[in-house]
């Protein structure tokens, strides 16, 4: 939430500006903006401090030795990169002023066909010289990487690998490998041994729920063999193999079956389409429209093609309202169709500012690696904000064994009691459930004790709406939520609201609330 300034007099706020300039210094901020514009654009918090990024590209001890290096100035880097991107200088020239590693004893063992963002430890560096452990991502264009041993791989668009000395580990998407040397690939714990003179494609896909994945290996020439926990086998030229059981995705259709766009456009011209246009609709109407559109698309998945075209046009229009954008993205992210999921990922490239935190977390939970990275960056750069805003990203990371996220939630929950007690009850229950799942069951006891007191006070005040909600929250998190199943953080708020709406008749009177509270042991 945006904090109010100390004064309402704009003339006095000139001093705020001056204090900010003097105390914080303004020298590096133009560089920060330039670098962020080029590298991250908005919505990518990793881009806020290029000085940290550039500094971190060198080991601490070696940094002094390169101070005279052309890239020592963040301004020079930003200028070169901006020029390379925006003003027509080709990218290979940017590489000349940005050779990050050659002088430091960390010898690159592979080279990309162009300078690109590389995740190196916790940093993002811009380089074409690659080290073991680097994580590289292909956006809309493929990336070709050549190793010192003359093997080469082509990372397909929207794919990601971590480079190992033995060979790449595929994290997402697919990679085509051609090797003149022996090579080992890895994907989801499966090792692939590649013989010299082989060309193959390794692909990784997730199913709709994001809970299961498959790895496909196709050998085009040469030979390979694979090994996993359940065995292994050799693979000859022309053979294809799926490693993991795969449940088919919903929603993809053979494009040949797609009806003519004009006809489908008419089909979507009714209420379903209004869902996409409403500015601030009534929540019930919105939920109904969302449900109907969902159902319509489940029955007519070919209409995704119409919707795809509609949405791309709408998002390209600057006057298309942001609330509608955010709502559409949330809808796409939660759609069981892979089509919606992929469309949301595409729109991230052009409209990152329209993504709500819940949508970012939903997409990360579904396995979109760029959103997983965004969640981690949010923790890193926005953690000083109120946890009411950030509890979802932190919960996502805590459930993935991020010790810092667990500590932040835990500390906020137990140490800052005054804040904890003021927090939205839904957030308290959710945080307690997350902490319980990471081995801190006392959080649930704490939240139940606090809610029990609040419930008593609400009943004393005759605030039956609050009392009913507290009891339903306790019921939802205590008994309804299946504790053996993964927590779907991105959709849990709407899932609870649906539950609360369906259960409204159970807490319609004081007597019912009291009885349910007693049943729940509150």
């Amino acid at each position: 939430m945006m904090e109010e300034p100390e004064t309402d007099d704009p003339r006095e706020r000139v001093l705020d500006f001056a204090l900010s300039e003097v105390l914080r210094g303004s020298e590096s901020r133009a560089d920060a903006i330039l670098a962020a514009l080029v590298r991250g654009e908005k919505g990518t918090y990793v881009a806020h401090d290029p000085e940290v990024v550039v500094a971190g590209a060198w080991p601490a001890g070696a940094r002094a030795a390169v101070l005279d290096f052309p890239v020592a100035s963040g301004r020079a880097v930003a200028a070169a990169v901006l020029l390379a991107f925006g003003l027509g200088v080709s990218l290979w020239r940017a590489r000349d002023v940005f050779p990050l590693h050659g002088e430091l004893g960390a010898v690159p063992f592979a080279r990309a066909d162009r300078a690109l963002e590389v995740a190196r430890d916790d940093l993002i560096v811009f380089t074409d010289e690659l080290l073991p452990g680097d994580r590289i991502t292909a956006g809309r264009s493929p990336v070709r990487v050549t190793r010192d041993d003359a093997s080469e791989f082509l990372l397909e668009p929207r794919s990601e690998v971590v480079l190992r000395t033995s060979g790449p580990e595929l994290m997402a998407g697919s990679v085509r490998v051609t090797t003149e040397a022996e090579l080992e690939l890895e994907a989801l714990g499966h090792d692939v041994h590649v013989a010299p003179g082989t060309e193959l494609v390794l692909a990784l896909a997730r199913d709709v729920s994001g809970e299961r994945s498959r790895v496909t290996l196709r050998v085009e020439t040469g030979a390979a063999s694979w090994e996993g926990s359940k065995g292994g086998s050799p693979l000859a030229s022309g053979e294809t193999l799926d490693f993991a059981a795969y449940r088919g995705v919903v929603g993809f259709l053979d494009p040949a079956r797609t009806r003519r766009i004009e006809e489908l456009g008419q089909m979507l011209a009714g209420d379903e389409r209004d869902f996409l246009r409403m500015w601030q609709p009534d929540p019930y109407v919105l939920e109904k429209a969302r449900f109907e559109l969902d159902e319509h698309l489940a029955n007519h998945p070919e209409d995704w093609y119409v919707l795809d075209e509609e949405l791309r046009d709408s998002f390209a229009n600057p006057s298309f309202p942001r609330p509608a954008r955010t709502r559409i993205l949330a809808f796409l992210a939660r759609s069981p169709s892979e089509f919606g999921y992929e469309l949301a990922r595409d729109l991230w490239m052009s409209s990152p500012e329209s993504f709500g935190l819940d949508t970012i977390v939903t997409l990360a939970e579904r396995g979109a690696f760029e959103f997983d990275r965004e969640v981690r960056a949010i923790k890193r750069y926005r953690v000083s904000e109120d946890l009411d805003e950030l509890f979802l990203p932190l919960a996502y990371l805590a459930l993935r064994k991020d010790a810092e996220a667990v500590e932040l939630l835990d500390r906020d929950f137990f140490e800052a009691q005054d804040r904890r007690d003021k927090r939205n009850p839904f957030v308290r229950f959710l945080v307690a459930e997350v902490l319980r799942r990471v081995g801190r069951p006392e959080a649930v006891m704490t939240v139940r004790a606090v809610v029990s007191d609040e419930l008593r006070l609400a009943l004393e005040r005759d605030d039956l709406a609050l009392a009913g909600r507290l009891v339903l929250l306790a019921d939802y998190f205590g008994t309804t939520l299946e504790r053996s199943r993964p927590l779907a953080l991105g959709s849990i708020a709407s899932s609870f609201e649906r539950f609360a709406e369906q259960s409204a008749s159970r807490v319609a009177s004081r007597a019912q609330i009291t009885e349910l509270a007693l049943d729940l042991g509150l």
């Binding site: 704009p10 105390l23 903006i33």
Partner: protein, 167 residues
């Protein structure tokens, strides 16, 4: 000669920060809004005709982005005072023909007179970009206590700066 994108960012980022702060944008979020402003500006098909025109165009983008970032109630209040805020900023820019350097220098000198505790609060607020609540938590004060230290200290600083600029 048409300026490069980089030169536009370097020339206007500081005035834009000032403009947004004078409109009421919190210091903690002003950098993000300035970045967004330049992103919109560079994505738009804008033709540079003069420094004044470019400056006005950037201010318009920044103002719209700021208004979009506000909740309904706060937006209404900002809109009521937006004309006065814009006048205040333009008056400041016109009075400071050195781009505000003398004002900043006067402030630097005045800061040496501020008491240690007040300076710490100022640093946490403007250097650390902490909210008043976070400063209060860190120093064991109430939020209202932090607010009154800020208001009091800034009043002293304003008087001191005016004295130096006039003198």
């Amino acid at each position: 000669m048409t300026p490069t994108a980089e030169s536009i960012v370097r020339r206007f980022e500081r005035p834009l920060r000032g403009y947004l702060i004078v409109l009421g944008c919190p210091v903690a979020t002003v950098d993000d809004l300035v970045q967004d402003t330049f992103l919109s500006f560079l994505s738009a098909d804008f033709e540079h005709r003069s420094e004044t025109a470019t400056s006005a165009y950037l201010r318009r983008i920044a103002r719209n982005l700021f208004l979009k970032s506000l909740g309904h109630e706060r937006r209404q209040r900002v809109l009521v005072e937006i004309a006065a805020s814009e006048r205040a900023w333009i008056a400041f820019e016109e009075n400071q023909d050195d781009g505000g350097d003398s004002y900043l220098q006067a402030l630097r000198e005045c800061l040496t007179r501020v008491k240690e505790r007040a300076e710490l609060v100022l640093r946490l607020r403007y250097e650390g970009r902490l909210s008043r609540v976070d400063i209060a938590r860190r120093l064991g004060l109430k939020e209202s206590g932090v607010k009154s230290i800020l208001v009091r200290t800034k009043k002293l600083l304003r008087a001191c700066i005016e004295e130096r600029l006039v003198g």
